[in-house]
């Protein structure tokens, strides 16, 4: 039983990276913008957070997370200026952002590879986390794990229960109509994209500061792309993002678990698991083309220029 709780805890911890990034990307895709730069934004966020944490006193780690979110948002603003402001192709611009982010973080981060963060105390709620079963399953997490759950709830409320959220979705479904009603389509899109970038940056910092607790080149290792796949998998709904993220987190933990149990599979072959699983899940979800079309924001990936 305790074993099971620990496995669940490991899945949730691993999945939180995907949840944070996926929820941010969900918001900007709901506004009709597809930002393929997630991987780059997460890497730069991870590095910014790590660099800030090295220079900050131990009590102020929260500022490192803010720095990471800011770095992600800045990267997203660059994307937004090009793809929304002057209307470049969203696919190509997002790819450029990812390629740039990979190069830039490796370049600037080279000096941080051998620098170690100070030791961190155990996560979670004191006393409660030491309870059997429910302790590790519910009370032993990093604050951002709870943050991701709250974020999912808040985002669901915002998108489907608030007027501003309705406007955001309207911009994603039909920017022309929203524009005709006098709403600032491009400003709303830019805001959504920067929110997505901030969440990707935060997810990156969660990896470098809390999850792996170190910085190496290409630390994110494709998680940004998996988070992008997750938005399709979740048919653009926050609660399903959360669920999907934990499932994928469980899959990544499965490889370590199998190794611990002494299952004789080569580590490289086990390492394929999350990526193969992403493809399989994507296929299963996309099979029903009409269903995807029904759920997908109608203007996703399309450039909107007012007055044309």
């Amino acid at each position: 039983m305790n074993q099971l709780a620990l496995m669940l805890a490991a899945s949730v911890s691993a999945g939180t990276v995907l949840a944070l990034a996926g929820l941010g990307l969900l918001a900007n895709e709901r506004a009709g913008v597809l930002n393929l730069g997630a991987e780059g934004m997460m890497l730069v966020g991870a590095l910014a957070g790590y660099a800030a944490a090295l220079h900050l006193p131990a009590g102020l780690t929260i500022l490192a997370y803010l720095a990471a979110a800011g770095a992600g948002a800045a990267m997203a603003a660059l994307f937004g200026w090009l793809a929304i402001g002057i209307g470049t192709n969203q696919y190509a611009t997002g790819l450029a952002l990812s390629l740039f982010g990979v190069g830039f973080s490796a370049f600037v981060g080279a000096g941080f590879v051998d620098k170690q963060l100070p030791e961190r105390g155990p996560d979670g709620v004191p006393w409660l986390r030491d309870l059997p079963v429910v302790g590790p399953a519910l009370f032993g997490y990093h604050p951002l794990v709870y943050g991701a759950v709250l974020l999912a709830a808040a985002l669901a409320w915002f998108l489907f229960r608030s007027r501003a959220g309705l406007l955001l979705r309207a911009v994603g479904e039909s920017p022309e109509s929203a524009h005709a009603l006098g709403h600032p389509v491009r400003a709303i899109r830019l805001g959504a994209v920067m929110f997505g970038g901030a969440m990707c940056g935060l997810a990156g910092a969660y990896v470098s500061l809390a999850y792996t607790h170190l910085w190496v080149e290409n630390l994110i290792a494709g998680r940004g792309w998996i988070a992008l796949a997750l938005t399709t998998f979740a048919t653009w709904r926050p609660a399903r993002i959360l669920l999907g993220a934990y499932l994928f987190g469980g899959l990544t933990m499965l490889q370590f678990h199998l190794q611990e149990r002494g299952v004789q599979i080569e580590s490289h072959l086990l390492g394929m698991l999350p990526y193969v699983a992403t493809v399989v899940v994507l296929v299963l979800i996309s099979r029903r083309a009409a269903w995807i079309r029904h759920n997908m924001p109608a203007s996703l990936g399309r450039v909107f220029r007012p007055g044309t």
Binding site: L36, L78, L82, I86, G87, T88, N89, Y91, A92, T93, L95, A96, L97, L99, F100, G101, V102, G103, F104, A106, F107, A110, H179, G182, E217, A221, G222, W225, I226, L228, A229, T232, E266, H268, L269, G271, M272, Y275, V276, T278, V279, L282, V283, S286, R287, A289, I292, R305, P306, G307, T308
Partner: protein, 362 residues
Amino acid sequence: MLRLVPRSPPSRALTLAAPFVALALTIVVGAILFLALGHPPGRALALFFLEPLHGADAWSELCVKATPLALVGVGLAVCFRANVWNIGAEGQFIFGALGATWVAMHADERSHAFLMIPAISLAGILAGAAWAGIVAFLRDRWNANEILVSLMLVYVAEMLLGYLTYGPWKDPEGFNFPQTITFLPVTQVPLLAEGHRAHVGLFVALAVALGAYLFLFRTYGGFQLAVGGQAPRAARYAGFSARRALWTALLGSGALAGWAGALEVTGPLGQLTPHLPVGYGFTGIIVAFVGRLHPFGILLASLLMSMLYIGGELAQSRLGLPQALSGVFQGLLLFTLLACDALASYRILRVPAKRAGAAVVS
């Protein structure tokens, strides 16, 4: 207040000038970056833009790296023209190298170079096309997004490369290093000149660019592909098959990336190691865009990108800067290029604030 007004037709001069303007901007940003890092920008920039052109050896190295970039870039240009977003050329490159390695490892003293080298190329082409074929199949049959599938398959291919070089294909006499046996000389792609690493793959790249040019601009199939990419509705109305365009684009670009991988592993490398992928598949995306998705432009762009690669290596060995610097330059170049492109088809007009407000209502 600024507004974008479409130019019709897009300025041709600006479209062709965009890559050069983008390059100039990249150099300026690069100089600022070096200054910020405390390196004299003049010397650092010379490593990127002058040193790689200095002498016969430098040109040979330039061609060694430009060859795979051109092959990958031409294939991707066909894809992007068809609006098929294959960004997994890196994986197809690795798979081509795996196919070629499998053939090369079976060579012995009785093998003949005249048979061996075509067989290696064919294995690379087939392996690369097969890996891209998975993407085409999943997209065609089950509507799975080709961007994500092709990218996930890059990671899978990298893992497979690691598995093979650390496991079944490891050289038993290689002191436990993760590498295959050194291939026999009969499998070696012929060199252009003794003592230089440039090989006949260069001619392959030139011929492929010419072939792609003829296909894209002189055949009905190429026309159908481009119409399907630019105006899917018109293509559907005309009865052009979107499925055929999808398969052609993915199999073609996969085959070329695979061929590039085959030439790389049996040419300059001579054995398979986990360090084979150095990002040619991803840089090929930039090459395709900088080359204006035109095969001849791509040849020039591949030389430019090869220069940035070599510049990165030189910056590492001479200035102790991380090699990832070339990635920064490549990303910057694509950014500035996209911005310049947008300005080639749109002009910026200054509109008085009041009028701009009125325009929103209209």
